[in-house]
Structures are given as C-alpha cells and as structure tokens.
Amino acid sequence: MSDLKENLKAQIIEQLNLEDLTPADIQDDAPLFGDQGLGLDSIDALEFIVLLDSNYGIKIADPSEGKEIFQSVNTLADYISKNQ
C-alpha cells in the first residue's frame, strides 16, 4: 500500500504539472482539493479520471463518485486497491 501511495504521488505531480512539489510534500491524508490542501480544481478532477484509466485500468463510470475517491492520497489508494 505504501508503494502504491508513493507511486500515486509521483504520478499526480507529473499529470497535474505540480512542478514545485515533491512526493514528500503531499501528506497521505491531506485534502487534494480546496484551499486546505493542494488547491486542485475541476480540471484536475478530470485529470484524475484519466490517471486512473491510463495507469491502473480503472474507469469511473459515475463522475459524481470522484468527490469521495479524490479526497486524499489515502482514499485514492484505497479505491485503486479495491478496484484494480
């Protein structure tokens, strides 16, 4: 699980062009969206859907699920491990 989280952080940085961040800057339970976390927005949510599809073969049929899945690296990793 910890390897998955580290890989996810690197992929998030690359996919979202977060060039000023390193994986160590992203806390496992920190919110990804909103002012409290990384400050990601709706276009980033679409990028997450692409990331899950292209890197893990997971398709999110209902985009409204994204709000729960994309809360943090923890929730993302949990969703991937259950659906891969």
């Binding site: 979202l16 062009n17 000023d20 990028e47 292209s54």
Partner: protein, 308 residues
C-alpha cells in the same frame, strides 16, 4: 490616428519592460533562447502550472500593458499563426500513444488558437470584445486592423497583439513547409492603442494587407502615396526580408532580431516605436512584412507631432 500608448514584448531579446528595446537589441544567433520574466509575478502559481509558453507570454505582456495604462481595455484583438503548438503537439501525441480510452483534458482545452485571447480576457477579468485572428504571416496585421476598426467605432482603448511559440518539431519542417534561415523562436508583443495622444510618442498611420501575389514595389508606392509619403521620405524600413535594403536610408531585417515566428511583425512595431526615442530626427517608419512570398503586410508608423 491610432496612438501607441504602451507596448510590451517577451522575445529572445531582453525586451520586457524596457524603456528602449534598442539598448539591448542584437542579432540573434542559432543558440538563442527565450528571455522570460518571472511569470509568477503576473500569473497565479495554481494557473501557471498548466500554461504553455505562448499563454504565459501573452498573459504576462497583456497584464504589463494593463498595469501601465491602469484602465480596462474596450477590446482585445490577438494574432497568432500557429497558435498553442505545445499543447497541440501534446494532445496529438497522446492520441497516438495513450492506451486508455480517455484523453487528458488540459492539452485539448488549451490547444485551440483562441485560448490565448480567452485566457487574457479571463486573467484581466475583461468582458469586452475579444477576437483571435489567424492568417499565417499576416496574423498580426489582421489583428491590428481589427483593433484600428474598433477605435474607428469609438472604442477608446484597445489591446492588440500577437504571439507564437516554437517547438522542436518545427525544425523538421525547415526547407519543406517553412523556408527560413533564421532560428525558430517564440515571441509575444502586445500594445495599447487609442485615438487619444496621451503620452505616446508615435502612432500607426495605416496598415494594409495583401493576400495574393503582386508587384511589391508598386503596392508599397501606392500605399505610401495614399498616406502622403514616399520611399525617399522614410527614415527607417523594417522588413522581413532584405529586398528594399538598397532603396532606403536605414534598413533592418526584423527576423535578424526576433528570429522566425510568423507574427514577428508585431515585434517590428515595438522596434519602430522605440526607434523614435533616440532618433529625434526620424519621422516615418515602414514595416514591410514579406515573410511569405504570396502575402504582404504594410504598416506605416509616424512620430507624433510636437505641439507648439
């Protein structure tokens, strides 16, 4: 008359926020690179991470223009020949290489030519008329004519500019689709034009475009004559090529200084405007955009008359 209230460029020259770009202007060499300001001073970091070079340049020079004149623009007219090449290439490569069914939205959204003026409007929070013109090497001139028409319609302050960006792939087109001996470069020049003189030093007297083959010299003579001028009266000619070097007293081939991008004639306007700063005896400058053999753009720029 169309007065140049302010003009800004980001190019491979040290041209951004300079009092007179001629102070640092020198012919470019093959290993030239874009001289970028710190974009974080103009664009929020959260937005910056998604923006390609052409968008960063366009937004930054537009914001610098707005900061200088301290008012909202009544229209925004942008010229770009090849548009957002970086994102276009990224999107097309993704289509060919990604195995998943879904494509990254960012490159797609930002690959259209109109993204530049759209992003400028969003960043300036400007809801006025906003238009992108793409006409190959005459993209800037067409955008300029649009801006001049806006002033004719009564708009008091218009933003006109042009931007293009180079990507390594362009080198593969050299000698086939693109004929040039100059290095491929990126550049953005934006200017604030107004019907009021203000503190401007020069004005655009006229701009004309030709989209067909024809006798360039005859066209120039007719253009100048209809604007009460002649080749002999010109103090400087800024030309994409060098056909008129022997016919004028002072001549610069502007791609020697801008490098090759198809909207570089906008940078020639910056060169012309700043030429008047040091050359107090100069009155008229002609920009000849003969970058493409079957097209011609002519822009006549004059020093403002000193009021008694």
């Amino acid at each position: 008359m169309y007065f140049i209230q302010h003009i800004e460029s980001i190019t491979h020259q040290d041209s951004f926020q300079k009092k007179n770009i001629w102070d640092e202007l020198k012919p470019l060499t093959a290993d030239t690179g874009l001289i970028s300001p710190d974009y974080k001073n103009y664009i929020p970091v959260a937005a910056l991470r998604r923006l390609s070079t052409i968008l960063r340049m366009g937004i930054t020079v537009s914001k610098a223009c707005q900061e200088k004149v301290s008012h909202e623009f009544d229209s925004i007219s942008v010229g770009t020949a090849l548009g957002c090449l970086t994102d276009t290439e990224k999107f097309l490569v993704t289509i060919n290489t990604v195995s998943g069914d879904i494509l990254s939205p960012t490159a797609f959204i930002q690959s259209t030519h109109n993204t530049i003026s759209g992003q400028i409007s969003l960043d300036l929070k400007n809801h006025a008329y906003n238009m992108t013109h793409t006409q190959n090497a005459l993209s800037f001139e067409v955008a300029l004519k649009d801006g001049l028409l806006c002033i004719d319609e009564g708009k008091s302050s218009v933003l006109v500019g042009a931007a293009d960006e180079a990507i390594p792939f362009l080198e593969r087109l050299r000698g086939s689709l693109i004929e040039t001996s100059h290095p491929f470069t990126s550049g953005a020049t934006f200017m604030v034009l107004s019907g009021k003189k203000g503190e401007s030093i020069s004005h655009i007297q006229a701009c004309e475009v030709f989209f067909s083959e024809g006798n360039t010299e005859n066209r120039i003579e007719k253009f100048l004559s209809s604007n009460n001028c002649s080749l002999q009266e010109l103090d400087l000619v800024l030309e994409a090529g060098s056909d008129f070097k022997s016919k004028t007293s002072a001549h610069y081939s502007f791609p020697d200084y801008s490098g090759y991008y198809q909207s570089a004639s906008a940078f020639a306007v910056h060169m012309a405007n700043d030429w008047f700063i040091e050359n107090s005896d100069s009155e008229a400058i002609l920009i000849i955009n003969n970058m493409e053999s079957n097209k011609l753009g002519l822009t006549l720029i004059r020093r403002n008359e000193v009021e008694a």
